[in-house]
Structure formats: C-alpha cells, structure tokens
C-alpha cells in the first residue's frame, strides 16, 4: 500500500526527471544541426594565461579540433565546418607550440579530406605559411603540399612554386633528397626539359649528393631527359 511519503518521493523523482529531460532538450541533444567551431577569442593574449603550460594547452586544443567532427552522437564531414575558423585555431596552436608538427599534419592529411578544392587550397596555404616561418622544421609538410597541389588541385604551377621555395629556403643537409627532387620532376611533367636537366646537373655538380643509389637515379634521369 503506497504511503504519503512514497507518493511524495515518486512525484519529486518524476519532477526531477522532467527537469533533466528539459535541460537535455535545451542543450540540443535532439538537435541535428551541425555545431560550428567557435571563433578564436578576439584577444588572443588571453590564451597566454595557461598556467605556464603552453604545450599542454596547444595539445588539448589540437585534440579538441581533430575530434570536432564527432558531435552529439553523429559524425559530420569536415566539409560542413568553416575552414577560416579551422585555420585560425591551427594558427593559435602553432603560436603556442611553434615546433610541433601536429597542426601541419592535421592540416595536410585530415582537413584536406574534402572534395572542395578551395578548402584544400586554404590548407595548403596554411602549410606554406608555416613552412616559411620555419623551413627546416616543416619541409616535409611542404613536400606533402606539393603533392596535393599537383595531384588534387591539378595546379602544377603552384606545385612548382612550392617546390622552388622548398629548395631555396632549406639547407641541403636537413632535407631528404626525394623532397629536393620534386622540382625537376615537376619541370619534366610541365615539358620544361632544359630547365629540368639544368637542375639535375647542378645537383650532381654541387657534390652534396653522396648516396650511390641517388647518384645513379639522377644520372639516369638526366640521360632520359636529354633523350627527350
């Protein structure tokens, strides 16, 4: 037999349950609209109040950014996000931790997973800006950007510009030879055989290449281009 106190407890429990459901509804649990990234704070210096742990803050922001596609039980496409905000947040992360490879890897491999070529170009420009800020640290992402602009954007002139920047701004010893080879390979694809041959010859004459396989590759390549 239900007593007054048990009835009262049931009513209170039901009332709290209704409050909970109402609160969840207000929070937008049933809302299927895509949540956009919040904009970067107007006064970015507020992020400097990070308890002297800028690296931790940068990594936390990066993990938050990369998992932003997982929202309230649904997975969204990166296409649906505002790429200007993504780039602003990546810039903040890079400012907090200048030597981290994380923002550039996500820029070049994660946020370029979109059919929108304009968005891919925005990410490549972000990588290019980061490369110019620290060429020796970020040359490999510049190399990835060259591949993307050539094969995804089909913009061979832009790919050549990126390849020229890579060779011009980095020290020979810090960059892998396969990355340096991209410039003459792109010139060859463009039909600029003379320019390509000159580049290979200058590489061989510089004496900086010591690996036998690389020397063999460049020599054979030079002969092949001369035949063309």
């Amino acid at each position: 037999m239900a007593t007054t106190s048990s009835i009262r407890s049931s009513i209170v429990t039901f009332a709290v349950f209704c409050l909970f459901v109402g609160f969840q509804y207000k929070q937008g649990v049933l809302d299927h609209a895509v949540k956009q990234l919040p904009p970067v704070p107007k006064d970015v210096s507020v992020l400097q109040f990070n308890f002297a742990e800028p690296y931790v803050l940068s990594r936390a922001l990066m993990l938050w950014l990369q998992t932003f596609d997982s929202q309230s039980g649904k997975i969204i496409q990166y296409d649906e996000l505002n790429y200007k905000d993504i780039i602003n947040w990546l810039t903040v992360v890079r400012t907090l931790h200048p030597n981290s490879q994380y923002p550039l890897l996500t820029a070049i491999h994660l946020f370029t997973e979109t059919k929108d070529k304009d968005k891919v170009r925005q990410m490549i420009r972000f990588v290019e800006d980061s490369f110019h800020a620290n060429p020796d640290q970020f040359w490999r992402w510049q190399a990835n950007a060259i591949i993307l602009s050539k094969h995804r954007l089909n913009d061979i002139e832009y790919a050549l510009k990126l390849a020229k920047d890579l060779n011009a701004k980095t020290k020979t010893s810090k960059v892998a030879q396969w990355a340096r080879d991209m410039e003459f390979l792109i010139l060859e694809d463009m039909g600029e055989f003379e320019a390509s041959a000159l580049l290979i010859k200058s590489m061989l004459d510089s004496g900086t290449i010591t690996e036998a396989r690389e020397l063999r590759f460049l020599t054979n390549k030079l002969k092949e281009i001369k035949r063309k």
Binding site: F49, R59, Q101
Partner: protein, 251 residues
C-alpha cells in the same frame, strides 16, 4: 627530536591514507596521459609527457598543500599543537621538524612522479624532478604558514589556491598590467594593476619550475642555481614567519 617529529608526521600521513590517495592520483594521471596519447595522431609520447606532467604537477601540489593545511588546522582545533609546544623542544626545532617532515613527503612525491620519465627518450627527467621537488618545498612551506596564520582550513586552502594560480601566471599578469598601465586608465584600474604588479613581485615565479618546457629542454646551470636560490629564500622567509606564528600561539 626533529627525527621523531619527522617519523611521526610520516606515520600519521600513512595512517590517514595520504599515500594511498597519492598512488591513486598517480595512476589516474598515467591513465589520463595514455588516453591522450591514444587519441593523438602524431607525437604520441610528447602528448603523454605534456598531459601527465600537467596533471601530476597540479594534483601533487594540491594534495600535499591541502593535506598540510587540514592536518595543521586539525592540530590547532584539537589543541594538540599546544600540547606539542609543552614538550622540551625549542620553537625553532619544532618548526624545522614539522617542515622537514613535509619536505621528506615532498621528496617521495617528486620521486614517484618522475618515474614515467626515467625511461622516456628526449626528456630531461632529472631537471623536471629537481625543479618539481623545489616547487613542492615552496608550496608546502606556504601551506604550513597559511595554516598557522588562518586557523580555518577553508580560508587557508582558498588563499593558497589563489596564490598558487597567481604564481603560475605571474608573468602574464605583469605583462597585462604593464600594457594597460601604459594607456589612460581610471584610478581604480591603476590601483588594482599596481597591486597586481606588487603581488607578482612577492610571489614565487612558479612558472619557471617543473613544466613541459623544462621537460623538453632541461635546465642550464644558471637556471638550477636561480631555482635553488629562489627556493631557499622563500623557504627561509616562510620558516621565519611560521616561527613567529608558533611563538604567538604559545602566548
């Protein structure tokens, strides 16, 4: 006598399950670090180091400080401090003994916290351990003094938390204050900003102690010496304040 104080303080900490709590916190921080590492795409070990370092540092500091404050507040409340003052030991040595006990506990915490960095590559675990231990010494001295100054544990804990948060961001507060003072500002604003600058001058620069930057780039000899000097000055100053408070309490 000092040895006895140290021994019984550590036994008390053990009986109050402080070390069990510390071990649980340590395991939680390791798990947090590994979770962050598992969801990061690149630089996994760095991610673990950063998250573990931040979590363990905050946890250890607050656990030790709050334990010190609560224990001292209980001793004052239950008149046990007055009983201990009646023992044939000078105030100075009593203070030395009490603080030394907490420094021994701090050493244990620093050693335990540094374990994950022992086998890590590209991190200067020794520099981190050293600077973390010095930070814990300052923190526990501050907590001890606050517990003697304010008999209520809640007030002491709140003030400690505020001072610690300020100390970790002192450079940023000062920079912000300098930037605003250069412009036209109202009297109230100017006074507040000068108070911030003065406080930044008085508090220890805890941002220079164990953090991710120390872990990655280590410390130079000059930095070691600066940390030792700063820590010694603060610890001696706080010890003298504690001694004065203990004398007042007897009276």
């Amino acid at each position: 006598m000092v040895g006895l104080i140290i021994k019984y303080t550590i036994i008390e900490a053990y009986k109050k399950h402080f070390f069990t709590l510390l071990l649980s916190a340590f395991i939680t921080c390791i798990v947090l670090g590994y979770y962050a590492k598992s969801i990061s795409i690149i630089e996994g070990s760095e991610t673990f180091n950063y998250f573990y370092n931040a979590a363990m540092r905050l946890t250890a500091v607050f656990l030790l400080a709050w334990y010190c404050i609560i224990t001292q507040a209980q001793q004052i409340e239950k008149a046990r401090l007055q009983m201990q003052m009646a023992l044939p030991i000078s105030r100075t040595w009593f203070c030395v003994g009490s603080l030394s006990a907490y420094y021994v506990i701090a050493l244990f915490i620093a050693l335990l916290s540094s374990l994950p960095f022992v086998f890590a590559i590209d991190v200067d675990g020794l520099a981190w351990f050293f600077s973390f231990y010095l930070e814990l010494c300052i923190v526990v001295s501050m907590a001890y003094v606050l517990s003697l100054l304010f008999k209520q544990a809640t007030i002491a804990i709140s003030i400690f938390t505020l001072i610690y948060i300020f100390s970790r961001n002192a450079a940023e507060f000062t920079r912000h204050a300098d930037a605003v003072l250069g412009t036209e500002s109202q009297l109230f604003e100017t006074v507040s900003l000068w108070i911030i600058k003065l406080t930044a001058l008085l508090v220890p620069k805890l941002e220079n102690y164990a953090n991710s930057l120390v872990l990655e780039s280590g410390l130079e000899i000059e930095q070691y010496l600066t940390l030792i000097t700063e820590t010694s000055l603060y610890v001696v100053l706080l010890f003298l304040i504690a001694k004065i408070e203990l004398h007042k309490k007897v009276l």
